[in-house]
């Protein structure tokens, strides 16, 4: 099943109108990841690796062999964002299993190397150094804070290691070694804000965020889309990370007369705000929410009495209903247990980033950074997330989903916007 998927992916990679892969490698890699007739043994493993994958196209890809392609995963497994770590660690297993089952990268097996940034940029820089220097990775996939990205990027750039940052972030990154495949605010908001106003009939918004770059950038764009849709921002407030008391803020919201609230709050702050808001009479039932980060653990703690009716806009939910995703999610819980921390947008984007890398490296016939980067531009894939493609700005055009929290606490996809283009520019 995954082999098929990868085969499709590779096929898409070189399909028609987007002549992204200009190199001759494009033709060679057409059927990648394709199998070799017989497992290459030690002695006669002489044939150059670029040729091997393209030779035959059987139903079953051959077992990859040779020096592994090393995929580094820089993620937050401790510290405040550590809560998102486990799904990513789980998905690293799938990355190895699935890419290897599909024949590996240019016939070579893949291995994943995990490094924890402890939600701390200084540690993140060391972790990046370890991945590059000690583990000798060919690519780094990242899901962590922007602060860690900024601290770690120079190391990747100096070492010429490809760095795919897959976390949702504020946008604006542009580096010769980087691709950014997470949701950016323009994707999460441009289609969803007008939809939300239509859905609810509300037009005045209160924007409440933690005080750092991502909420600020989100609100800057939200304001544009709200005004373009004929709405109005009646309040914009920022609270420090780790805020525990929202009583004064709640009062400002109550006094603002807002029809809608856009909370860009993370983790414990989100839980504190929403649980306190209900008692101040400004819960979801009084003022509907459009959230862009509330994820399952946070929503679960708030409980359905608080969350029922909230809408969340993200690039992935495990509830996304397509056969590939249903099978993928079923397999996830089968492998890691029914009570495993659920697969979610961060782990999903890491998985997609790995598939994108594998497809591009297969298309390029090499793991050389410049060649893979060239192959990545314009690359399209179909994954459990949906149809995704790398844009000219080195970001990802991807589906955006809106989930509505049901009265039993479950999430239901109520709207999806396919192939939402990021409003980004980048030409490194």
């Amino acid at each position: 099943m995954m082999a098929l998927l990868l085969g499709m992916a590779a096929a898409c990679a070189t399909s028609d109108d987007e002549p992204a892969v200009a190199e001759p490698a494009a033709t060679e890699a057409e059927a990648a990841p394709a199998p070799v007739d017989e497992p290459t043994d030690d002695g006669d493993a002489a044939p150059e690796p670029t040729e091997a994958p393209a030779t035959t196209a059987a139903d079953e890809p051959a077992e990859p062999s040779g020096e592994p392609v090393r995929i580094g995963i820089l993620f937050s497994n401790s510290g405040p964002a550590g809560i998102f770590g486990q799904p990513t660690a789980n998905i690293a297993e799938f990355i190895e299993e699935d890419i290897n089952a599909a024949g590996g990268i240019n016939g070579r097996p893949v291995e994943t190397y995990l490094a924890d940034d402890a939600t701390d940029p200084a540690v993140g820089r060391q972790a990046m150094e370890q991945l590059i220097e000690s583990d000798g990775v060919d690519v780094v996939l990242g899901t962590h804070s922007s602060a860690t990205r900024e601290a770690a990027e120079p190391l990747a750039e100096d070492a010429g290691v490809l760095y795919i940052y897959a976390a949702l972030y504020e946008g604006g990154e542009c580096s010769p070694v980087m691709f950014n495949t997470g949701e950016v605010p323009s994707q999460q908001l441009a289609p969803v804000i007008p939809w939300m106003m239509d859905e609810t009939g509300g037009s005045t918004w209160f924007l409440l965020g933690n005080d750092y770059v991502w909420p600020r950038r989100s609100f800057e764009l939200a304001r544009q889309y709200i005004e373009a849709a004929g709405g109005e921002v009646v309040g914009e407030e920022y609270v420090p990370l780790g805020t525990q008391d929202f009583s004064s803020v709640a009062q400002q919201i109550a006094g603002s007369g807002a029809d809608l609230i856009f909370p860009a709050l993370v983790g414990g702050d989100a839980i504190a705000f929403e649980t306190q808001a209900v008692d101040f009479g400004i819960g979801q039932s009084a003022i509907p929410r459009l959230a862009n980060i509330y994820e399952e653990n946070v929503l679960g703690v708030m409980g359905p009495s608080v969350t029922a009716g909230m809408r969340v806009t993200l690039g992935y939910f495990k509830e996304v209903d397509n056969p590939a995703n249903n099978a993928f999610v079923a397999r996830y819980f089968e492998q890691f247990g029914a009570d495993a921390p659920p697969h979610m947008t961060f782990s999903s984007h890491i998985y997609d980033a790995a598939l994108l890398y594998a497809a591009a490296a297969n298309a390029a016939g090499t793991t050389d950074t410049a060649a893979v980067a060239a192959a990545l531009e314009g690359l399209s894939l179909s994954t459990p997330t949906g149809d995704i493609s790398i844009t000219g700005s080195r970001h990802l055009a991807q589906p955006i989903y809106v989930a509505e929290i049901q009265s039993d606490g479950s999430q239901l996809i109520v709207q999806s916007f396919p192939a939402v283009e990021p409003d980004e520019t980048c030409s490194p």
């Binding site: 009583s247 004064s248 983790g267 008692d279 703690v301």
Partner: protein
């Protein structure tokens, strides 16, 4: 007018929260001269006691005494196992309690994982009083916090035990020379300090997220209260919490929460300039 009433009530609930969270820190610093960097973790563990109580289908109110007992025992064990051996060396206690805070966080993470936890509000909704609607649980919180703080402070200032402990604060050597068993007094003071932190944690649990890192968020506020209130005066916790709550609520009202945080830090710096940390006084 109503807005002002609400803001006063907000300030009052912030005051009550700050006071009960800082109480144990103030007791342990004031009485033992120990800067307990693991105090936030005591609060966090108190919140987990509330979570476990809830998860076992028991009343939230039961979690308050339970948290007090659990944290008293934990605090007493820590005093015997760690603090007692180093308490006359302030710089060592800072490092030791910092290490302890990491251990406690990791231990809680091992038991409960990193996931956020929560307990539902036992009295949801708002109550109309003084012409405004204000969350019922916050009235309860204010009441319980004030009672716990006042009773604890009275116990330390009015009882024979309190006299003993205050004697230790006033002059540890002289107390020693009078035959006061300063070891037992420290044991109790540390245990009681931890117990009040546990109550604080259980009390604020329904208002926010419970997670292993949660303690880190409580520590700065508690320190601010103790710094503002004065190091060696137990009742200073109340004065400190009043000042900090007034400043924060006021600044949030007129500016925003980010400026309120800046104002709090500025206040801490100012108070530290005015009051030298009496480390030598506390540890002759």
């Amino acid at each position: 007018m109503d807005a002002l009433t609400l803001e006063l009530l907000n300030g009052l609930s912030l005051f009550a929260t700050l006071a009960i969270v800082a109480l144990g820190l103030g007791i342990v610093f004031g009485l033992m001269g120990i800067i307990n960097l693991a105090h936030g973790e005591f609060v966090m563990i108190g919140a987990y006691v509330a979570y476990v109580t809830h998860a076992n289908g028991l009343s939230h109110w039961l979690s308050l005494p339970l948290a007090a007992v659990v944290l008293f025992v934990l605090g007493a064990c820590i005093e015997v196992g760690l603090i007692r051996r180093i308490h006359r060396r302030p710089e060592v206690t800072i490092l030791a309690t910092f290490g302890l805070s990491i251990c406690l966080r990791q231990a809680v993470e091992l038991i409960f994982t990193k996931d956020f936890r929560g307990v539902p509000n036992p009295v949801p909704g708002a109550t109309r009083a003084l012409g405004v609607l204000f969350p019922t649980y916050r009235y309860v919180l204010i009441g319980i916090a004030v009672v716990v703080v006042v009773v604890t402070l009275l116990a330390f200032t009015r009882s024979r035990f309190g006299l003993t402990v205050r004697a230790i604060v006033a002059d540890r050597d002289l107390a020693d020379a009078c035959g006061v068993r300063t070891g037992i007094a420290n044991f109790c003071a540390f245990g009681i300090g931890a117990a009040t932190a546990g109550i604080a944690g259980a009390l604020v649990a329904p208002l926010g997220a419970i997670e292993p890192q949660a303690g880190l968020a409580y520590l700065p506020g508690a320190f601010l209260v103790v710094i503002v209130g004065g190091f060696n005066r137990l009742w200073g916790v109340i004065a400190g919490a009043l000042v900090v709550a007034a400043v924060q609520t006021g600044v949030i009202h007129f500016y925003d929460a980010v400026w309120a945080q800046i104002a709090s830090l500025a206040l801490a710096v100012l108070m530290l300039q005015l009051r030298r940390v009496p480390v030598e006084a506390a540890n002759p």
